[in-house]
């Protein structure tokens, strides 16, 4: 092969690449592919902006699947074109190596370019098949690695700030207002031919109504307005749920569901609350610095919970070093109960779950809850708690409390869903009050 012929090949190759890209079909496909990615990201942003968490989740799922398929189609196209290119060169008696690679000393050695089906590592038999399998495996592995990198290894640091203020960690006083309802009086003629059973005329039915009276601020510490010592003026109570692999973490997520709880918390405690609920991956918990991390995260579902060792470490660090708390809720199966308890056994191997008594602070402040309300007894009838140094680092509700917070309250009786709201309020408040105490003690030590 002379030097002139080689130069001619290089020129041919470049021209071919340009020609391929100039083809209208290819250009259209390229534009559509890029367009898909743009539309996907815009949709994600818009759904987040208008607070449609379910749609946002679906957009994320569909977008990821679409991106995978589009990428795969492009890989197949490139593979096909590359293979044809090398095949044509082989038929024409030209060297195996690609035009943009320097000429090897011995031209007879088989090439090593991955697009070349005759590359040495594809073997001697079924070279095209081996090439396809290798490329598919490489593409899939690369895609999932990238996916994990972009989703698991969180983003930049973020902070959670509690609302500034103060208050007392006490049970809200219940006042009883007595209301008299006087029944209708019937006047009956004793000469009437119609037989009528005369009811007692002056019967008075007493109706007792229990009304909650905000006699004091619900919060912790000294400060103006209901809130927490260690909070900031821009701070607010947020409801963050944990995303995890293996199950349906997004059960009853967003408007008409857990947002109701957040709103109720705001109404009942007069504290500032976020407009919508949020979700974070376990890896993203790492982005919250100490003293600015969420006092409580919510975890629910009805399937399995699959955590890596790293995620277990992050959760342990969140609970112990960052003074966080997990509010677990069994969203619908006995299997989830075992999953949750198993997860906690990994996170805190030296802590055993125990029943949370009805007179525990978490069941008394700010609302006195005389019984444990539940929608369905998926994981038994007792709330479980994991305590570290007397503090509840995890509160587990066995009976789908999240379902009672939805717009239809799952059809449960009003006293049950009201108790569920009160219990939710208590758990959120407990986590924030404990966090506030911890912040205060750290400030004093400094």
């Amino acid at each position: 092969m002379t030097e002139i012929a080689h130069n001619q090949t290089v020129s041919d190759g470049r021209q071919e690449v340009r020609a391929q890209l100039r083809r209208p079909g290819v250009r259209l496909c390229l534009s559509l592919s890029v367009g898909f990615l743009v539309v996907w990201q815009v949709c994600q942003f818009l759904f987040g902006w208008v607070d449609w968490p379910v749609m946002r989740t679906w957009a994320a799922r569909l977008g990821t699947s679409g991106a995978f398929i589009i990428g795969l189609l492009w890989v197949i196209w490139v593979l096909e074109k590359g293979a044809h290119f090398f095949q044509r060169r082989w038929v024409a008696g030209l060297p195996d190596r690609p035009v943009w690679r320097p000429k090897p000393k011995n031209e007879a050695i088989p090439g090593s370019h991955p697009l070349d089906p005759r590359a040495w590592y594809y073997g001697r038999k079924n070279q095209r098949l081996n090439q396809s399998v290798a490329m598919l495996s490489t593409y899939t592995a690369t895609f999932f690695l990238l996916f994990l990198l972009l989703t698991r290894i969180g983003g930049c640091s973020e902070a959670y700030e509690m609302p500034a203020g103060g208050g007392q960690q006490m049970t809200i006083a219940q006042t009883v207002r007595v209301q008299k309802i006087i029944r209708k009086k019937f006047i009956v003629s004793s000469f009437s031919p119609i037989s009528f059973k005369v009811p007692p005329i002056d019967e008075v039915k007493l109706q007792l109504m229990e009304i909650t009276e905000h006699a004091y601020k619900v919060g912790y510490g000294e400060g103006k307005g209901a809130g927490f010592a260690g909070g900031t003026n821009s701070g607010m109570v947020r409801f963050i749920r944990l995303e995890y692999a293996g199950g349906d973490w997004d059960q009853d997520f967003g408007i008409g569901a857990d947002v109701n709880m957040l709103i109720e918390y705001g109404v009942r405690t007069q504290q500032k609350v976020a407009k919508r609920t949020e979700s974070r991956t376990i890896a993203q918990l790492k982005n919250f610095p100490i003293e600015k991390s969420p006092p409580m995260v919510y975890l629910t579902g009805q399937k399995s919970i699959s955590l890596s060792d790293n995620e277990v470490r992050i959760l342990r660090e969140y609970l112990l070093d960052k003074h966080g708390m997990i509010f677990g809720d069994n969203g619908g199966s006995a299997g989830f109960h075992n999953q949750f308890v198993g997860m906690m056994r990994r996170v805190l191997p030296n802590v055993r779950p125990s029943r949370v008594p009805l007179d525990d602070q978490i069941h008394r402040v700010p609302f006195q809850i005389p019984f444990l309300p539940y929608v369905a007894p998926h994981g038994g009838k007792d709330a479980l708690g994991w305590r570290v140094d007397g503090r509840l680092v995890c509160y587990y509700h066995p009976g789908d409390i999240g379902d009672a917070w939805t717009d239809d309250h799952s059809g449960v009786a009003p006293e049950i869903y009201e108790a569920c709201y009160q219990l939710g309020t208590n758990v959120i408040f407990y986590a924030h009050a404990e966090y506030s105490k911890w912040l205060e003690s750290r400030q004093k030590r400094k």
Partner: protein, 538 residues
């Protein structure tokens, strides 16, 4: 004082008072103190105890409180306060129980026997709610202030449990030693101390010294019982050690030391049957311990020794045969079984070994020999033949044998009828199965099976009728049956009826686990969130 009246009441209290697990006798009023109560006090206390026994803790607590209000200076006041606190624990109000109940007993009646119990119960209540540090403190108080009291034994047991959570092995061993060597083995504490000595022995064999293990066992068992105990506890420890390559050497060492210990302590083979039996049992302990090591030659040597010294008894042959089975030498095992003096039992063992090997034809042949040989009770072997055919999934053969049993053993008609029905069901002959199930009297189980057969035949209306009969006639199975009605409607394509039934399960039995299943099913299958459940655990 009318002792005739007092005694039964006090005994009733001591017998029926529901105490927390592991805390028996701490919440009881002694007979002499009960005798000191006035009649009105006993009357009030009896009312409270009655509700306590009936587990109506809310009312019981109110009655105990009434006692305290009326008879504050009574001998039974501390007891009443203690029981009130235990009611609070049962009502899931542990903090109230501790602060307003047990602590009051300690503060107001420090010299009463209930004060010790209250201190222990404080620890237990703290442990129950996960306040480990406070629980430990309370238990330590019991151990320091009342080391000889039964409460100290219970406190030690709970502390051992806490050391397993904190993985504090050193403390656990100390506590085991306390229970094993330092505690007086009263009637109530005996079992706890025995258990502690066994655990200490197992731990010593596995991680400590063999001598310590022996000492722990010797604190509990007589010399002639020791070989069997060494086999049990050293064997289990060695079994765990042998599983890991790193500890395998130590495992073999434990076995060798154990075998040597037993061998050096072997008694003389006496002349009486009892003496021979004792000596033989110690040889069995030795061979069983050696078998854990998996060293076949050494095991075989001990068996040869046993056969030489005691002859080939059925028990020895059975053990030898079973050991052959564990080493996968089935033919050798059967050879031993065939040497049995009791031919029927030997043949039974042969048949069982064939069944274990899934050689059902040979097993049946072996059982048939017993049917022919056992003229007194051939039924039991015929039943075994039928069972073997069921194992082999040859249902027509099994049905034929069970039908034969139906004629030859009319006393157990129901049992054979049930077996025939089950075989028909396994064979997919649902209609025949229903016919036999109908003749059984074990409602609601037979109705459950019949309904299931109707569902398999796609006769959904019949299945629903049967399930409804269960709902009406067996309240305990009603939630399950109602849920099954829902599934049956679903199979029949009647979605609306199915949804209504699932909602009914949630509404009628909100505290039952089947309500949980119905709730989840409604959400997952039909995307219906209004499941109409909801309850409160008071």
């Amino acid at each position: 004082m009318n002792v005739a009246k007092v005694l039964p009441a006090a005994l009733a209290i001591s017998l029926f008072a529901a105490a927390p697990a592991g805390a028996d006798r701490l919440d009881e009023l002694s007979l002499d103190r009960w005798a000191k109560l006035r009649e009105v006090e006993r009357y009030q206390l009896n009312i409270a105890e009655k509700y306590y026994r009936e587990k109506n803790y809310k009312v019981a607590a109110a009655e105990y409180e009434k006692f305290l209000t009326l008879y504050e200076t009574s001998e039974g006041a501390a007891y009443s306060q203690l029981k009130w606190s235990l009611c609070q624990v049962q009502l899931k109000k542990h903090n109230t129980a501790i602060k307003e109940g047990f602590q009051s007993v300690v503060d107001y009646w420090p010299d009463a026997p209930e004060a010790v119990a209250a201190t222990y119960f404080i620890g237990q209540a703290y442990k129950d709610i996960g306040e480990i540090r406070k629980a430990k403190k309370a238990y330590q108080l019991v151990l320091e202030d009342y080391p000889k009291h039964l409460a100290a034994v219970y406190a030690t047991v709970d502390l051992i449990d806490l050391t397993t959570i904190s993985r504090d092995e050193k403390a656990r061993v100390q506590l085991w030693k306390r229970l094993t060597f330092e505690t007086t083995r009263s009637k109530e504490a005996k079992n706890i101390c025995v258990q502690a000595s066994q655990q200490l022995a197992t731990w010593s064999f596995e991680f400590g010294s063999f001598e310590d293990g022996i000492n722990a066992l010797e604190s509990t068992y007589a010399e002639e019982q020791m070989p069997e105990q060494i086999r049990a506890y050293a064997g289990s420890a060695a079994g765990r050690l042998l599983k890991d390559d790193k500890t395998q050497k130590r495992g073999l060492q434990v076995i060798d030391t154990g075998v040597t210990w037993i061998r050096t302590h072997l008694p003389e083979i006496g002349t009486t049957d009892q003496e021979k039996q004792l000596a033989r049992s110690q040889y069995y302990a030795m061979v069983d311990l050696q078998a854990v090591s998996g060293r076949e030659q050494k095991v075989r040597e001990i068996y040869d020794d046993i056969l030489k010294k005691f002859g080939a008894s059925d028990e020895t042959l059975l053990r030898l045969g079973n050991w052959y089975k564990t080493t996968d030498r089935w033919d050798a095992a059967r050879q031993q079984f065939q040497k049995f003096e009791d031919r029927l039992e030997g043949q039974n063992q042969v048949a069982q070994s064939y069944r274990q090997q899934q050689n059902y034809q040979a097993a049946v042949a072996a059982y048939q020999k017993n049917v022919a040989a056992d003229t007194e009770n051939p039924t039991q072997w015929t039943a075994q033949i039928a069972g073997t055919w069921v194992d082999a999934k040859k249902y027509p053969e099994a049905i034929a044998v069970y039908t034969e049993l139906l004629k030859s053993d009319p006393e157990n008609t129901e049992k054979w009828m049930w077996q025939i029905a089950t075989c028909h069901r396994y064979a997919g002959k649902y209609r025949e199965a229903i016919g036999f199930y109908r003749q059984c009297n074990n409602f609601p189980t037979n109705y459950q099976e019949m309904a299931s057969c109707h569902r398999a035949l796609k006769e959904y209306n019949e299945a629903v009728i049967l399930y409804n009969q269960i709902v009406g006639g067996a309240p305990k199975s009603a939630p399950w049956a109602m849920l099954q009605i829902g599934y049956t409607y679903e199979k029949a394509g009647k979605k609306e009826s199915a949804i209504r039934t699932f909602q009914q399960v949630c509404r009628n039995y909100p505290k039952d686990r089947y309500a949980s299943q119905a709730h989840t099913h409604l959400q997952n299958q039909y995307k219906i969130t209004v499941t109409l459940g909801g309850a409160a655990d008071k």
